[in-house]
């Protein structure tokens, strides 16, 4: 193979790279569902959109190749047709946006982390070049793990153009349950592999997925923990996402100034107000700043935003 053959051939990616070019301030917009994450964009920035389209769904490989501008909802519909699903949360946004932000699905225990599902990323660099990182197979330690660095980088290191995601078979049964008298931690401990356990200070929700017999067996096992009843859906989640230790999330009884919902065994908590910011460690910040200056020496990618 020659080097030229290694570069992606898809003309759609090349025209995206040409549009982005190698100078001027740019930002890639998805659907704006997390537009302000990392700060407001600086004035005078050219706003571009990433290419759209599902390139290849491979259920037998448990992978999908999809362009970054595709809606997560469209991706999930296409996957559902072949009995698969992704780890990306569906909130009206794009695949590229979901990966740039890196937030996990509510059912992260069942679906896996977004970060672990990104197998390959093709992004346009600050120099306007298409970079391929990672590989289109489910297991890979060939060289440095750029997909990990790009996921969650809020578009500050490269403009995501296309990704290959690991998918998973859609479980045959899905059931939400709710209880007013069950201890959330005990509920979590009793279950083998729940997809989600939530707690709002008085009620516990459980999401069971899998074979119908297994869902029934888990439901039955919860009898000793509390009175659970089927629920149509999870509770409404407040707007702000906090990161706590799983233990702290489970022992939360109230959050000043409003409602909360805590994810047991995960440690994510949703509240009506933002979590107090913890300052980034100085030595770690050196690594962050160095990464930014190496990947985007002129600071043209998403100026105003910081990870």
């Amino acid at each position: 193979m020659t080097r030229a053959e290694l570069a992606p051939t898809d003309p759609v990616l090349h025209s995206f790279a040409a549009e982005l070019g190698d100078r001027g301030l740019v930002s890639i917009a998805g659907r704006g569902t997390r537009w302000s994450a990392g700060g407001e964009i600086a004035p005078g920035v050219q706003i571009l959109r990433a290419p759209t389209g599902i390139v290849e769904v491979s259920p037998a490989e448990m992978t999908v190749r999809v362009r970054a501008g595709t809606l997560v909802a469209d991706l999930n519909d296409a996957l559902a047709e072949v009995g698969q699903r992704s780890a990306l949360p569906e909130r009206g946004g794009t695949v590229g946006g979901a990966i740039a932000v890196g937030e996990d699905h509510l059912d992260v225990l069942g679906r896996g982390r977004v970060r672990d599902s990104v197998l390959q990323v093709r992004y346009v660099s600050a120099e306007g070049k298409i970079i391929s990182a990672g590989g289109a197979v489910v297991k890979n330690v060939s060289g440095f793990n750029l997909p990990k660095l790009i996921t969650g980088s809020l578009g500050t290191l490269g403009a995501i153009a296309e990704v290959v995601l690991r998918t998973n078979p859609k479980p045959s049964m899905s059931q939400w349950l709710v209880s007013c008298d069950a201890d959330p931690q005990l509920s979590f401990n009793t279950l083998y592999r729940p997809s989600c356990v939530l707690w709002d200070g008085s009620r516990t929700w459980v999401h069971l997925e899998g074979h119908a017999v297994d869902v029934a067996a888990e439901f039955d096992g919860l009898r000793h923990v509390g009175k659970f009843e089927p629920a149509d859906s999870p509770p409404e989640l407040p707007a702000h996402r906090w990161a706590l230790t799983p233990r702290d999330a489970a022992s939360m009884t109230s959050v000043e100034g409003g409602d909360f919902v805590a994810s047991i065994g995960v440690g994510t908590l949703w509240a009506d107000r933002p979590q107090a910011a913890t300052p980034i460690d100085a030595a770690l910040n050196v690594v962050h700043q160095r990464a930014k200056s190496l990947f985007d020496p002129t600071g043209r990618l998403n100026p105003g935003r910081a990870v």
Partner: protein, 473 residues
């Protein structure tokens, strides 16, 4: 420098004898170009920081090392750096069940961790075949896999946070045990970086619950194609078993001679499949796997009847590499991954390439992940054999890349696979990989000369190479 190191640690924990330096110039790979400087055995994060700072003062590089079971030369010192052997930092610091994590030092042996967690009803999922000796630090550095990584992922998916001493001597914690950590995933970047981004001194691993039910199936086939097709069809049917491992006839017989695991000797391929979870689903899935195997002409289907039998079946699989020694003194191993649906075709090419180079090839592999381990047997004492092994190896790697595969699934690039990197990545891609490396270690002082091929890694590193890479092409 030796004096400084001994003052910071102790005389006994800084070795510089000829025997030690020879020993630490090697790992489990066949690479022979290592040259070791002093070998340090730190006992704390503070001592690792001291070593980093002394190295910086004396303008020396450092190489972290676990148990030395790496198969690509990742821990091999190039150009007499300080070897930092992490084996004395081997304490399980805390098992924190309420938070679902265990904090361990990097020198903890994989199986020791698994054993101590299993008493509590948990496990650390990655189970490399070398788990009796390899360390968690080495697992993190190589993003190790194992037979049971099919359903729940390799090391990366089971590591939440890592305390790292950077080349500057500063200590940082990458990742977090709090919820999902947003922002740059430096933890994820560190896992699989082969000891080039810093030295891990503490690791928070995720605790996985032991499954209530497990079913182990031993399936045999008259052709490798049928076995490979079964693997692909199982996944296509929407079943994700905990493990799916395939062995060919040659390796099966070697294993039988070695440990007598109870594998059928006459089959062309043996598939060991395991399903775990809740009783009902496990029964359904194992039944469906049997049906898929039958539709692919399975020759025999057997269920492990007891925990003892199950353990023996796995012992056979995990001692496969050891069993090879009876056949030929040396072997060379590749680690490519291919799309599952291409397994059967690629395996055929691999046998054909071996035959053309007059080499014995065996295959034992993590079939569920498409992670091949073609083993090329040879006798290093016979002139010209190793050259044939490398020529055949290069063809095998190209055959895997040609179907959309990658170079390495779990063993890493180290020094052995460096020349192949240019077959998988363009020079722009590699340039960006180097940017990631320099974000952590701008002067390339930690484990220099690894992973990236010549011309891409830091220029001042080239002088360290004591063996021409051409030999490894």
């Amino acid at each position: 420098m030796l004096r400084d190191l001994r003052r910071a640690l102790s005389r006994e924990r800084v070795r510089y004898g000829a025997a030690d330096r020879t020993l630490f110039a090697h790992d489990a790979s066949v690479f022979e170009g290592g040259l070791s400087g002093p070998i340090c055995f730190p006992e704390s994060t503070a001592e690792v920081q001291d070593i980093m700072r002394i190295a910086m003062q004396h303008e020396r590089s450092v190489v972290p090392r676990g148990a030395g079971t790496g198969l690509t030369g990742g821990a091999i010192p190039l150009g007499a750096p300080i070897v930092v052997a992490m084996t004395k930092m081997d304490t399980i610091l805390e098992v924190d069940i309420a938070n679902g994590v265990a904090w361990v030092e990097p020198g903890v042996v994989n199986l020791d961790l698994t054993r101590s967690l299993s008493e509590l009803g948990f496990n650390f999922a990655p189970d490399p075949s070398s788990q009796q000796v390899c360390t968690i630090g080495g697992n993190v550095a190589n993003n190790a896999g194992g037979p049971h990584c099919l359903a729940y992922g390799v090391t990366d998916a089971h590591v939440l946070a890592i305390e790292v001493v950077l080349s500057s001597g500063d200590v940082v914690t990458l990742g977090s045990v709090r919820g999902e950590s947003l922002g740059l995933d430096l933890r994820g970047a560190f896992v699989g970086s082969e000891g080039t981004l810093g030295i891990a001194t503490k690791i928070a691993v995720r605790l996985s619950k032991n499954p209530p039910a497990v079913r182990t199936l031993l399936l045999s086939f008259s052709s490798m194609r049928d076995a490979a097709q079964t693997v692909s069809d199982v996944v296509a049917a929407g079943i994700v078993p905990a493990a799916m491992e395939v062995m060919d006839r040659e390796i099966t017989n070697a294993v039988e001679n070695y440990v007598g695991a109870g594998y059928p000797r006459d089959a062309a391929a043996v598939l060991l499949a395991e399903v775990e979870g809740l009783e009902g689903g496990v029964e359904i899935d194992s039944q469906r796997i049997v049906e898929v195997a039958q539709s692919n002409n399975a020759k025999s289907i057997h269920r492990a009847e007891s925990e003892a039998e199950r353990a023996l079946l796995w012992k056979g699989r995990k001692t496969a590499f050891g069993a090879i020694a009876q056949i030929k003194p040396d072997y060379y191993l590749h680690d490519s991954v291919v799309p599952r649906s291409k397994l059967a075709d690629v395996l055929e090419s691999i046998y054909e390439i071996g035959a053309r180079h007059d080499l014995m090839v065996m295959n034992v592999f993590h079939a569920g992940d498409g992670n091949l381990h073609p083993i090329l047997l040879y006798d290093g004492r016979i002139a010209g054999e190793l050259e044939r092994v490398h020529a055949a190896g290069a063809e095998i790697v190209r055959a895997c890349l040609a179907v959309g595969g990658v170079l390495s699934g779990e063993h890493g690039i180290g020094v052995e696979k460096q020349p192949y990197m240019e077959e998988q990545f363009s020079s722009d891609d590699l340039d960006h990989q180097e940017r990631l490396r320099r974000s952590f270690d701008p002067m390339c002082r930690v484990n220099p000369g690894k992973v990236l091929p010549e011309g891409h890694s830091c220029a001042d590193i080239q002088a360290l190479r004591s063996i021409p890479t051409g030999v490894w092409g």
